[in-house]
Symmetry: C2
Subunit: 501 residues, 2 copies
């Protein structure tokens, strides 16, 4: 009887998962393949598929099945498919069904309408024109928060959407440590002799060849992956063996390559989820923070490491010729790790990136709490940029208007970027302890040990466990600990800048 | 009150149309972009989206709305959006709701399972291994027919799925005329001096450049179209300004180019549907026959015409060099119109193509009527190939196993290919009468008059009218008339082979 109910639930959730993956394809295609003329009708198709998936999920039928199956779930092992599916779906259902469909629709509509306003405001350096839609998004987000019982802080509700179970107070504690230790590090580096950079030009066709060679060694294969150019890089896909990453190219540097390695990290997490979880809500990474730990690990711990460049520098020199003249693997390693406080988050280096996030985390809480009139947001932004990064913001285009997130109402998302950085170092310490030969494997182009370790310890679980449960399985503690990241940074920068290790 | 009901209906149908267009994208992506690893889950996604669309459409709610809106529809002009939507949706609903979902699911499943069996059977020239799945598909198709009241002939039911309102007896009458007049024409040509062909090699990159230049002059533009390579060419898309055509390339000839022009014709029909019909079931071509008339017109009446090659031959010669050495526009025009009875339908020329179809039309009726044991199908096939085309079939791979259609249970589809050929000539006679300067416009690369004529007289109506109503609007008669096609052929071949005009 319960088995039949479970099969019923599983089938319903599979159908819903099919719809979400279909929506992912609609969105991937929109950004990568669609002729511009398709924009208006694609918005309708995305809205329709999303609405049907959501309506089916929050149905009373599923609520009843989950209720009936509570005992069935508890009689199975905690990490069994059955118990995990019921547990995760119950949690999702309880959160999703608290939000009236009308509010959800209004949030989507408002985000869609705000996007072009933000694009124009950023282009024209005109914060005032963005202000009304920002206010609208913020009001909707407050109404969204009001749908739930607020425990400690309202921000907990939105944070939980991206990093399940994480508390604002916990993030604050972590970020305070980061501010205390990472800010001085940036200042120490600034007092050293800087890495000299000269202007270069990297041929785009050569970049395409190079990045494919790199991700192929990482584990990309054309039977399960695609790599395409796009305006804003992202990772997507329709299943564990259909992973799609996107990238972009610049002629003045290899930021595109690092972006490709970043998206590979996201893609690999999805690719290595246990195939038996396919067509269930368990078939993806467990949180944005854990996901970002994977992208940052491949981008930074691997892609900005000395063993990596010892492996790939000769080939890069072949392909890019003049651009790398006068460099060797070691000097190039220093250049790609140069620390330089800058205005734009997405271009920030490993040492300054988290500080960009902390600024946003603080502003988001202040906005939700109406701590200052929204008109003052640019000043609040600029003040913190000076305080944390020692940078003067010349205009709002390169300041408060730089990110897309607030135009889509995505408040609570930013912290996961920094948490991902911190987690990546926790995991990396564990990996390098368990795989002492990893640096030489990387230098030999053998990425299988790293890939396998990640599959076995992290990826295969998908969403079976909460972020903290997952972290505990991977590194032995459920706490996000900022110390390993600061240690990692200090050690790396000691080698490059000669600061104290 | 009725207006509110109509808006409700319209909104429900819009949602269903979004789902069908989403399914079209899932399928386009599957054939053009998807890594092979996505196959299994893509089948689930397609099944889910199709099932939801179908279930929503045949719902009692929609049946009730259609019933309630009958009077509302009748109070609007016949060609108004309101009357047309209600009329067409009622007709679709009545047919769709007669088929039990289980039978529909079994037909889909059986088709999916039969496909790989057919692929292997064709590869191995092993009809016996295909026989059981063919029998299964045929049985299901008979059960499908049993869902309806059969009027004159069971074949009417399946024919109507592809060419609404068309009767088997009518097709037979038309095809008898074709057999009587087209078969002798082929024999007459066979007695003349043949067009001499020598082996050539066409560079594939040059083909890609050339076909894009051609379809751009036709009206392809990258803001509303895509063109991609695939194994089996087709036209698809997600809306009137997102049209996707696909093609393939051969090094030994320009079949790929003709295929591209063919798919352009399909694409243009969809592209020029009145945008006000978007997100409704009216937003597509009215039947497969009318659709094929458009693809064949651009492929043959335009692409295999002398004015076309006078326009494009110089550029072709630039691009393909040696392959066209010794040719001029006139001699090349003769070569691309050479008549040569051959084994394979998709490679057949304009004079023999319809005969391939007639053979299949006759066999399909015989199979549904159990006129011979299914084991004898190859013999029945081969006998007709000899009779109609004077060709001996060396094996089933190039005979009865060549087409995919029967493996997917698509019985009743084939006739629309030949009907499309015939309709294309009816329309072409009308166009050339109304646009006497068309040949010189084509020679000057000006395709706007043709495109505009087609939009105004045919394309914009979408599915508002039945195929016969549509035909009547375009050419002044609701009858498919085979005479213009035979006239067109005889005239063209008179110029090339010197037979009597």
């Amino acid at each position: 009887m319960s088995r039949a109910a479970f099969d019923d639930l599983r089938q319903r959730l599979a159908e819903i998962q099919d719809l979400w993956k279909t929506a992912a394809l609609l969105s991937w295609d929109q950004q990568v393949m669609m002729p511009s003329g398709g924009a208006a009708i694609r918005a309708e198709q995305l809205a329709t598929v999303g609405r049907i998936a959501h309506t089916k999920f929050i149905s009373a039928d599923i609520g009843r099945l989950l209720e009936d199956l509570r005992g069935f779930g508890e009689h199975h092992d905690y990490d069994s498919f059955e118990a995990s599916l019921i547990r995760v779906a119950t949690r999702d259902w309880e959160k999703a069904s608290k939000v009236p469909p009308d509010l959800r629709a209004e949030m989507s509509r408002s985000a869609a309408l705000a996007n072009p306003v933000w694009v124009a405001a950023r282009r024209d350096n005109d914060f005032a024109s963005f202000l009304p839609v920002l206010r609208k998004n913020l009001d909707l987000r407050k109404r969204y928060i009001d749908c739930f019982e607020v425990g400690d802080e309202p921000y907990d509700i939105v944070l939980d959407d991206y990093e399940r179970g994480m508390k604002t107070a916990e993030v604050r504690r972590i970020f305070d440590y980061v501010k205390e230790h990472q800010s001085p590090l940036v200042k120490e580096v600034a007092e050293q002799t800087q890495v000299e950079k000269r202007e270069k030009t990297f041929d785009i066709e050569a970049q395409k060849i190079f990045e494919l060679e790199v991700v192929r060694e990482f584990g990309f294969s054309s039977d399960s992956w695609r790599l395409d150019p796009t305006v804003h890089p992202f990772a997507s896909g329709t299943g564990v063996t259909d992973i799609r990453i996107t990238t972009r190219y610049f002629t003045d540097g290899l930021e595109g390559l690092f972006g490709t390695m970043h998206e590979f990290g996201h893609g690999l997490y999805e690719h290595q989820v246990d195939p038996s979880l396919e067509r269930s809500p368990l078939a993806r990474g467990t949180s944005l923070g854990l996901h970002e730990s994977q992208s940052r690990m491949w981008e930074n711990m691997v892609g900005r490491s000395l063993p990596f460049w010892r492996r790939f520098f000769p080939r890069a020199q072949e392909l890019f010729g003049d651009a790398l003249a006068g460099h060797d693997a070691d000097s190039w390693y220093r250049e790609v790790n140069a620390v330089e406080p800058s205005l734009i988050r997405v271009e920030a280096d490993e040492a300054t990136y988290n500080l960009h996030i902390i600024l946003r985390f603080e502003l988001e809480q202040a906005m939700l709490a109406d701590e200052f009139p929204l008109e003052q947001l640019p000043e609040e932004w600029n003040r913190r940029m000076w305080e944390y990064l020692g940078i003067e913001v010349p205009n709002d285009t390169t300041g408060v208007l730089q990110d897309v997130h607030w135009s889509s109402g995505s408040i609570g998302y930013f912290p996961t970027y920094a948490l991902g950085n911190l987690i990546s170092a926790q995991i990396w310490e564990r990996i390098t302890a368990e795989l002492p030969d990893l640096p030489s494997a990387i230098e030999a182009g053998d990425f299988a040990p790293l890939r396998d370790w990640l599959r076995e310890n992290l990826h295969r679980h998908g969403r079976k466990f909460t972020p903290t449960e997952t972290l505990e399985r991977v590194v032995g503690t459920s706490q996000i600990d900022p110390e390993p990241y600061v240690r990692y940074l200090r050690e790396k920068l000691a080698g490059i800048y000669g600061i104290a290790a």
